[in-house]
Amino acid sequence: MSNATFTSRAAKSLRNSQLRRNINKATTTIRGKTARVTAELPDWEALRLAGREIKRSTLAELDKHLIALEESVTRAGGTVHWARDAAEAREIVVRLTKAHNTDQVIKIKSMTTDEIELNPALEGAGIRPYETDLADMIVQMGREKPSHLLVPAIHKNRVEIRDLFRDQMGSHGEGLSDRPTDLTKAARAYLRDKFLETRVAISGANFAVAETGSVVVVESEGNGRMCLTLPDVLISIMGIEKVLPRWQDLEVFLQLLPRAATGERMNPYTSIWTGTVPGDGPREFHLVLLDNGRSKILADEVSRETLHCIRCSRCLNVCPVYERAGGHAYDSMYQGPIGAIVTPQLKGLEEAGSLPYASSLCGACHEVCPVKINIPQILVHLRGKVVESKRETALGKLSGENMAMQVASRLFNNQQALEWSLWAGRLGQKLLTRDGVMPWLPPPLSGWTLSRDFPALPEQSFRDWWKQRENGK
């Protein structure tokens, strides 16, 4: 574990003009598109409420729906595997893949496989994973982490992409230009080879329907469709919160997701499959149900709605913090506001304790979330847990922040002490004040004076003025 925090990683990204430009351009465009296509639906608000309610009621009886899903999938010819944590999930997938004596797999957009760090585990077992979503492939070739839920290579420009392709695509990359059409043509030819020669595919899942055992993947490129239909064996990994009870529930989510995600009325490719069918598609289908901390989130009454998330990324696209700090500042496959609440709950506050503070609590995320997750409320709740755990140690109790908060608390509860402290402040600030403002303050307040003057305390507080006025009456 490194000592890097959101703050230190963001500080780096903030100086990256290419990143700032790319993200600003992309998020501005997508904000406009999603705003248009959500506003045109007269029942958008009702859809959001329905989405929220379906998620809430499903999570309230999650065990029941998961068992129903297992039964339906099994009935349709698939096999269900239960994974308590990342290690178990990795073990299951590696074992299933090895059983088919293959040294490579193709993958389609699955944040869950990033979450469980599947690729290094496959590589360790001598199996080479090929990402086939274009942006995921670029991120994989650059040996980086994704910087956006939906546009993972948002931080890259086309020259950088051309260089990666030239370097890693063999004959398909030779003499490649940086024109977008040439880049996609090369990727297409390169990926077609992989689709045709690989026998095992690994996917994620957007939804799974308990009553039918159907699994759903939505995407834009069609590469997912290739992965889901061409290989002999398909292994899909999904978080347990992705289950929906009824087929009919898809009606709500297949409207919410594309409109909130890419600003499209419908996404180009929606693949839905139910178990296996002789002579059509994979002959073997495995569904891995992943907990990995989700049931712990479910047990928390304030933060459980984190599990409503359908990974549309709309919160990233409206977040002023994400827009400036960039996805890598979150150091996770889940970035932006949703990442700031998901990651600390999955990885633990010790590792990701800086993320709940990566927000000005402006509420733009909550305002647009298609399933109405109150992200600011959960951020504050998680900050509470960070403080709670810090206060369990003597060092944490003695930290500057805790001491300052305790002093403030005392003052707010003691009128006289408050008035005295204002008097002392007026005296103390004399050394620091120039023309009515303080241009420099000592740490930790130096963060403020990095770019802002601080107003000097005026000679008379409001309550002193009021007292004087009352006495003069």
């Binding site: 609590l361 960070v386 770019s451 802002r452 005026p458 507080s461």
Partner: protein, 248 residues
């Protein structure tokens, strides 16, 4: 009406002129203003920083002091939002105190943000103000999203005589304050502030106003540091200014 003023800690200590302006406007409109003793802070700083038990103490203090009030007026959008949206949450999930929750729920409908009190409770659009300056309005996040004040404050500004109101581009975006966020993530906060200032400067306004002095402390601190010559003034102070007694 007998209005109980909740001044808020920032206005009390750093911006007494805002409180004085609120008193002036309300009295000019014929209302009686009282300032209950023993009040201090809404608890927002503690709550938003994760110090929930300390925030609960502030909820109790607020409820104790304002329990009997006819109406409570608060010249801060974020403090009003704290009371309206977070007090019930704190009573339910942190204090787990049914009596406190009941008291909070009984009190909250009588708590109004200052401009909201004028436009929604009193139904006013013109409070007889005069302020001959070029002004742009920053609609704080809490005004927009937690309180849903819409363009109520703008309507008040449009009816101020002599005031040249210029629309602020990209107005719905946060200024980057966010309480301790401005200190803990000072660099990201600064990047947000820079864009906010760019938009403010593009209006050629001499004054940026808002219903919240914490945003204005942030924006004003940046404008001051950059020697832009643009000032920040709380909405209440603009509304308090009249032809007879104009505000400087």
């Amino acid at each position: 009406m007998r209005v109980s003023l909740f001044i808020t800690c920032i206005n009390d200590s750093l911006y007494p002129h805002t409180g004085q302006a609120v008193v002036r406007v309300l009295e000019r409109l014929g209302h009686e203003v009282v300032f209950p003793e023993g009040q201090s802070c809404c608890g927002q700083m503690h709550h938003n920083s994760g110090y929930a038990p300390e925030a609960v103490a502030m909820v109790r203090q607020f409820v104790e002091i304002f329990r009997e009030a006819e109406v409570v007026v608060v010249p801060s959008t974020s403090c009003t939002a704290m009371i309206r949206t977070q007090y019930p949450h704190l009573a339910r999930h942190v204090a787990k105190d049914a009596a406190l929750l009941e008291a909070v729920e009984a009190l909250v409908p009588r708590v109004w943000e200052f401009s909201e009190f004028l436009t929604r409770k009193l139904g006013l659009t013109d409070v007889g103000a005069y302020y001959p300056h070029r002004v742009t309005y920053h609609s704080s996040c809490n005004s927009l999203r937690s309180l849903g004040l819409g363009d109520g404050p703008l309507t008040l500004l449009r009816h101020v005589r002599g005031l040249d109101l210029v629309e602020l581009p990209n107005n719905t975006e946060c200024c980057g304050f966010g309480g301790t966020f401005a200190v803990k993530n000072a660099e990201t906060s600064t990047a947000m502030l820079t864009d906010k200032m760019r938009h403010i400067l593009s209006t050629n306004a001499e004054i940026c106003t808002a219903g919240d002095n914490s945003c204005l402390m942030h924006i004003g601190g940046g404008l001051s540091r950059q020697r832009t010559g643009v000032r920040t003034v709380h909405l209440a102070q603009i509304l308090a200014s009249t032809a007879e007694a104009p505000l400087a």
